[in-house]
Amino acid sequence: MSSASWMLVATAVLAVVAIAAAVIAVRAARRVAVAAVRTAVAPTARPASLVLVENVEPSPAAPPEARVVEDRLVVPPTQQQVVSAALGRPQARLTIAAHGLAHALRPESRDRILALMRREYRRRRRLRLKAARRAVREATPQAEPADSWIGELPSSKAVGE
C-alpha cells in the first residue's frame, strides 16, 4: 500500500473521529440547554398548588410482615415491588416497546412526522436560497449611471463656471 493510500485511510479515520466528537458535543450541549431551560422555567410555569401524582396506585402504608416458614425468613413483597418485577420481565418490556412503536407508526403520527420533515426541508431550502440571492446581490458591482456615456455636457460646464 502506497503512502498516499495510508494518508487517505488516516484522513478518513480522523474524519470519522471528528464527526463522532461533534455529534457527542452537540448532544451534550443540547442536553445542558434543555436542563437550563427547565430549571429556569419550572418555578414560574407550574403553580405551587399543582402536584404531580403517579397514576399507579400507592402501595399500602404498612410494610408486609416478615414470617419464618420452615426455618426460613419469608418477607412478602410489596405491591409496588410485584408490579415493577412483572413490568421488568423481557416479555413485558417487549410488549411495551411494541406498543410504543405502534403508537408512533399509527397513521396520525406518521402523517404528522412526515409533514414536519417536509416543512423543515422546505424552510431550510427557502432560507438557503434567500441567503444565496442576497449574497449574489451584494457581490454584484454597482452599475454606472445610465447616462454616463454622454459625458459632460458643455451647457453644464457653462453653468458651473
Binding site: V56, Q79, I96, H99, G100, L101, A102, I113, R125, R128
Partner: protein, 85 residues
Amino acid sequence: MTPRVVWFVAGTAAGVYASVKARRAAYRVSAPGLIDQVGALGVGWRAFRDEFTEGRDAQERDLARRLSQTLTPPPETLSIEKDQP
C-alpha cells in the same frame, strides 16, 4: 388557429413544470440539499422518538394500573377473612 394556441400553452406549461421539477431534483442531490434532508431527517427522528416514548409510557402506566388492580383483593374478601376465627 385555436389548436396552435392550445398546443403552445400546453407546451409552455409542461416546460415550466418540468424545469421547476428538474431544478428541485438537482437541488435535492446537491450538497446543500443533502444537508437540508439530513436536518429534516433529524427533526423527524426526534418527533418519532417523542411519539414512541409517549406510547410506551402510556402502555406502561396502563399495565401497572391493571396489575395493581389485579393484585389488590376486593374489600368483601378482606371482611370475610376478618370475620372468620
